[in-house]
Structure formats: C-alpha cells, structure tokens
Amino acid sequence: MEYCNCFESPWPADELLMKYQYISDFFIALAYFSIPLEIIYFVKKSAVFPYRWVLVQFGAFIVLCGATHLINLWTFTMHTRTVAVVMTTAKVLTAVVSCATALLLVHIIPDLLSVKTRELFLKNKAAELDREMGLIRTQEETGRHVRMLTHEIRSTLDRHTILKTTLVELGRTLGLEECALWMPTRTGLELNLSYTLRHQNPVGLTVPIQLPVINQVFKTSRAVKISPISPVARLRPAGQYMPGEVVAVRVPLLHLSNFQIHDWPELSTKRYALMVLMLPSDSARQWHGHELELVEVVADQVAVALSHAAILEESMRARDLLMEQNVALDLARREAETAVRARNDFLAVMNHEMGTPIHATIALSSLLQETELSTEQRLMVETILKSSNLLATLINDVLDLSRLEDGSLQLEIETFNLHSLFREVLNLIKPIAAVKKLYVMLNLSPDLIEHAVGDEKRLMQVLLNVVGNAIKFTKEGGISVLASVAKPDSLRDPRAPDFFPTHSDNHFYLRVESQPLAVKNSGGSGLGLAICKRFVNLMEGHIWIESEGLGRGSTVIFIVKLGIPARLNESKLPFLHKGPGNQVKLIFSGLKVVVMDDNSVGRTVTKGLLVHLGCDVLAVSSGDECVRAVSYEHKAVFLDVSMAAVDSFEVAVRIREKFSKRSDRPFIVALTGNTDRMIKENCRKVGMDGVILKPVLVDKMRSVLSDLLEHGYLVESQ
C-alpha cells in the first residue's frame, strides 16, 4: 500500500485492480463485522458455552481486522495523516489481539477436539444400550409368553388339558411345526406317544426308554438339540424337505411324595416324560437361546402343574372314599340302632310272654304240692317246681342281659352262705351229670369262709353256667370244682396282666376252678361264658379258660370279689360248727328228734349221742311206733336202715305221707353201716333227706344237725 502514495489518481489501468481490492476489502470488513455479530447472536441464544472469554477475544480480533480492512479502504486514495494514524493504531491493536488469540487457541483447540471424541463415545454407548434394550425386550416377551403359557396350563387341573394346552401354546409361541409328548408306560420301560400337536394319530407309538438319545435328554434339565432322525422325532410324514431342528426336553413327573421340605424334587424323581419340539422344515430357523430357555421353563411348569393335578386327583379320590365310608358308617349305625331296639322289644315281649306261662306253672305246681300226692308224684312236682323256678329266674335274667349290655345292671349285694351255694349248684347239676354218667366233685378249701357278701343269685348263675358247660362238653369221666381263696401270687394270669386285686379286711377274692377230670372231652366252652364274663366283671373279677389242647377239655377259672361279713354273730345264721361243746348243746338244746333202731345197743348209742348234743330224743324200736310218735314238733327222724324186721324205707314213706306240708315234716335221715351205693340211692328215692354212715362220730352228728337245720339237706361228702 505504501507504493500507492506516489502515483497519480489511478483510475486508469490499475483502476480495475483497485476497484476489486476496494470491493474485497469492503466485503471482508463486512464479513469481519458480521461474524462476531453472528457469534454473539448464537452464543446469546445457546445456554451453555464455556468459552465466552475466547469469543470476546476472537470478536475483538475480528472486529479489529475488520476495522483494519475498513480503514484500508481510505488508504486507496490520498488520505490524511489522521487516517494513517488510525490505520496504524488499528493494525497495532489487531496484531496484539491476534497474537493473544493465537496463543489462546493453542489451549482451546484440543479441548474442542476432545469434545468430538466424547461425542463419538456417547454415540457408541447409545448404540450399545439400544442393543441391550432389544435383548431385554426379547426376554420380556419371552417371559410374557411363559407367563401366558403357565397361566393357561395352571388354569386347569385336568391332566389332559394341561398337556394339550402346553403343546398348543408352545406351538403358537415358538411357531413350531410339530410338538409331541412322550409319557413313560406303567412298566417304565417304554415311552408312549401320548400327545401331539398336529399329528393325527398319537396312540400306539412306543419307543424303548433306554435309547441313548433319550438318556442324553434325561440326564440334564436343559433343552437338548437332538437329531431329526432319532426315533422320537420321526413324527412327520417323510418328505424331501429338510427337517427343521428338533429340541427335546425332559419333564419330570412328580408325585406327592417327591415334595419334601428340604429336598428339591429334581433329586428324587425318577420318572420323566419327553417333550419334543420341531421347528418348521425348510425354514432355516434356528433354535435361539431364549427359545430354549422358554422351553425349559415350560417343561418345569408342566411338571408342577401335573403334580398338582395328581394331588388333586388323589385328594378327590380320598374325599370320595371318605364320603362313601361315612355313608356306610351311618347306615351301619342306623342298622345297629334298629337292631338294638328290635332286640329290646323282643326281649321285653319274650320276657312277658314267657313269664306268664312260667308263673302259671309255678303257681299251679305249688298248689299241686298241697294236695294229696304219692311219693313219686310229690318228687316229680318238686322237681317241676324247682325247674320252673330256675326257668323263671333265667327269664328274668334275660331281661338282665339287656340291662347288662347297657351297663345298667346292678348287683344285689347281701350276705349269703357260700358253702351252701356251691352245694346247691352241685345238686342242681348232679341229675344232668348222672344222666351222662359223669361224676361231679366239689372241693371247698378249708380257708374259704362260709359266709360272704355278694350277689348270690348272679354268682350262682355264673357257677351254674361254668359247671354246666363243663358237664356239657365232657363225654366221659367227670369234673371237679375247686373253690378257694385267691392268693395274690396265684392271681397272676397271663391274659390279665392288668388284674391287680387288692386285699383288704373288707373283702377277699374267691377263686373257682372247674376242671374236667376226663377221659374224653369234646371241644367247646359254651356261649354262656360271655354272660358270665359280664357278671364276673361286674364283681370286679376275671374269668379265663386254660386248655391243654384239643380233646383235652378246658379248665375255666374265675375270680370274683366278695365281701367278708362284718361279724359272724351279726349274720343271720345262729349255728356254728366249731366251738366248745357247751355252746353247741345250747344251740341244739331242746331240739326234738326221733331215733328208730330195733337194736337196743345201737339205739342207746345214737340216743346218747344226740342227748350229748343237747337234743330231746325220743327213741323207738319199731316202725309203727315211729310213725305214730313223729309229730310236727320233731325236727328230725333218724332211721336205722340196717334193720331186718323193719323196712325203714317204708317208714320213711309213711312219715312223709303223714305230713302233707313240707314245712311241717321233720328231716328223715338214714343211719347205715352199709357203704353200698344202692342204699344211698334207695334212701334218696324214698325221699330221705340224708344218709349217715355208722359209726357216727359226735362231730359228724353235730354237722349233720347243723346242715339239716340250716339248709334242709345234707352235703354228701365222705
């Protein structure tokens, strides 16, 4: 520009150049001025821009450059010194600012560049996130599918529906060509094709379970890709096309027992079903990981659903069974009630109906007794009366039986004579035994007290039952009845380990043993023992049978609790067996008896004996005299049976005839030295009350008298 000062106003040739320079400078200045404006404008607009100071600097630089160029415009022509000065100032400033800016830019530009790097980095990151998002979305979709499938599967508890639904949904979700389920057979040796998606006939196909491919699948819980030509996958009609990939997964079949608290079912289950899934052929689709996962999850869900279905089935079955049982029980209960009611009605009716004729019999027999009867007839009537009474008792006891069952039976406790109870039972049994040619032996132990407190009637029933049964089931020989006081150690019975009787002053335990002394026995122990058992239990006792074996008969033993009467002299029996003679004499004192013996010595001896005992004795030597002399005052008549001249039997008969009423008649006792059984029989036949063997001991006579006065008959021992 300096060279321009020397020239003349140059609008000629250099005018064009000048013009262009002039215009360029002008535009440069314009641009230079507009740039900062733009910058300021845009920076003002943007929110964040950290380099303001730089911009200011840059702006200043630009402005100054522009100014320089603008001022340059005036330098093309002649210009004054002021312009030159301004120009210089402007240039100097511009130089300063530009240098400053240049220096500053050294710092700024790397920063700006790094911004770019960061931007790239962020873009990468965003791309990555996008990818992940895609994955998650896929997974979520899978999950949705699974949930839906599970929902479908679990919405039913029907096994068939579960399985069918599974296949259908899986087919739909994964777009399968074919989906099949192989279930193990009952034997567990084969897999049976149970369900398929599209294949038309699912049944009939079986494959053995021991195939390697199946084992491979069963070994792992993951879905396994298997070859399309393996037997389990050969379900599609063969064709030329490429079969799609096949995946198989195991489905554990769980049972109720598999669900332990700490034991995950995987470990304990043994049976698996096989699910085979086939992609469509010719589709070039591949099994993706998420699809395999889906399949595995579905398989597990199916297992759970199946097990639930199984549990439900079982519980339904159990409930049905219970309901059936309930119904049956109800019916049985109602039947039992009806039966009990029927039985009670029957018992009541029978009791009444049978009671009437029995009572009639008893009444009429009693009346008959009062009339004139021959000896035989009287005997017969007495037997009838006795039997009828027994029968009446039995009928009453039938009613007792129903009360026994209800538990409302009460024992009638009173004091009774134990010894005479036994003798009475034996006497009742003896006719039956005699018919069967059996003998009955009674053995009362010496420590058995005579009187006891208890239910005499029921005890007699038990005894009769036991002894009667023994007789019934003995063919030959006889039976022996042993009565004793039960000792604690002898009460041990293997069948009653809980039976611990206690001893006290108030009661003792009577032990009765009925034993066959038999040569031959038939079996059986009788039904009445059930009743006996109840009575015995009521008496706080125990009854049991011991048997040596078949054909040897059974020994029935029972123990009952009886009370001991408070004081002997409080009991209603005034007679004592033992005691000093004086006491005895008092007891028998004045007892009027008759002694008939034609032998004077014998007569005297017997008389002396009775007198010694305190009786008032009338001794006669002939039958007529005897019959004449006997009166209602006499309590006993002792007839010597070994007389030759007199038939004592006839005398006995006549005496009996003399007294119509039994209560007036004295006891007739035969004295004989003859041990022949025939004598005893004959005595019994004519109706004598007892037989005594001569020689008669004082004690014997004493006991005889006691027996007679107490019970009206003699015990036949010795």
Partner: protein, 145 residues
Amino acid sequence: MHRQLANMKQTLFDQGYLDEQFIQLEELQDDANPNFVEEVVTLYYRDSARLIQNIEQALEKSPLDFSKLECLMHQFKGSSSSIGAKRVKSECTQFKEHCRVGNADGCKRTFQQLKKEYATLRKKVEVYFQFARQIGPVEKACRSK
C-alpha cells in the same frame, strides 16, 4: 393210778379188742351222763346174750336156715359195732360171709371163735370198769381225749 388205767385201755386198743367207737362213747359221757359207757356196755351184754342164745339154737337145727342166721348175726354185728367191739365185729362179718355162701361148718367154727372173743372182751372190759369206778369221778374229769 390213772396211768395204770390209761395203760389198761391202751392195751385193749393195741390188742384190737376195742376201736374208736369206744372212744366216741366215752366222749358222750359227761356230767349229765356220768356212767354212759358202762350203761351201754351192760346193755350190750344183756342184749347180745340173748342173741347168742338164739343163734346157738338156730345152729342146732338142720338144715341151717342161713337167712335167719344172717339176720340174727346182722343184729349182733350192729350192736357190737355200736360199742366198738372190734374183734367181735370181725367175727360177725366172717360169720355172715359163711352164711352167704352157705358154709355150715364155717359158720359153726366162726361162731365158736366169736363166743370166745366175746367172753374175753367181757372179762377185760369188766376189769376195766371196776378199776375205773375205783378211781372215781376225778379221773373221768381229767381224762383227755
């Protein structure tokens, strides 16, 4: 003295003349009947004397009426057993047995034996009672059975 009496009685028992029935009779003897035994024995001898006579008469007949003999003997036996005359009783039983089988000789023989026993017993018992009477009631009270 009472020891002597007891010995005498014991001898009678040991020799089999008397049995337990005699003891029984003695038992019947008490304050009410102090001489019961003696009375009974005396009665026995009176009675049996008659019986023996009858039997002798029956034995002299022939043929023997066994049933009658048996009957008589039965009575005699009864009396004898009532006082406890053991040996006499056994002879009676034998006699009856002979009668049953109809052995006349046996009967006669046994009867002789019987009479002997009877006499012996009578003598012995008489001595016993004499002795007893001498001792008196004190002894009777002290006698223990």
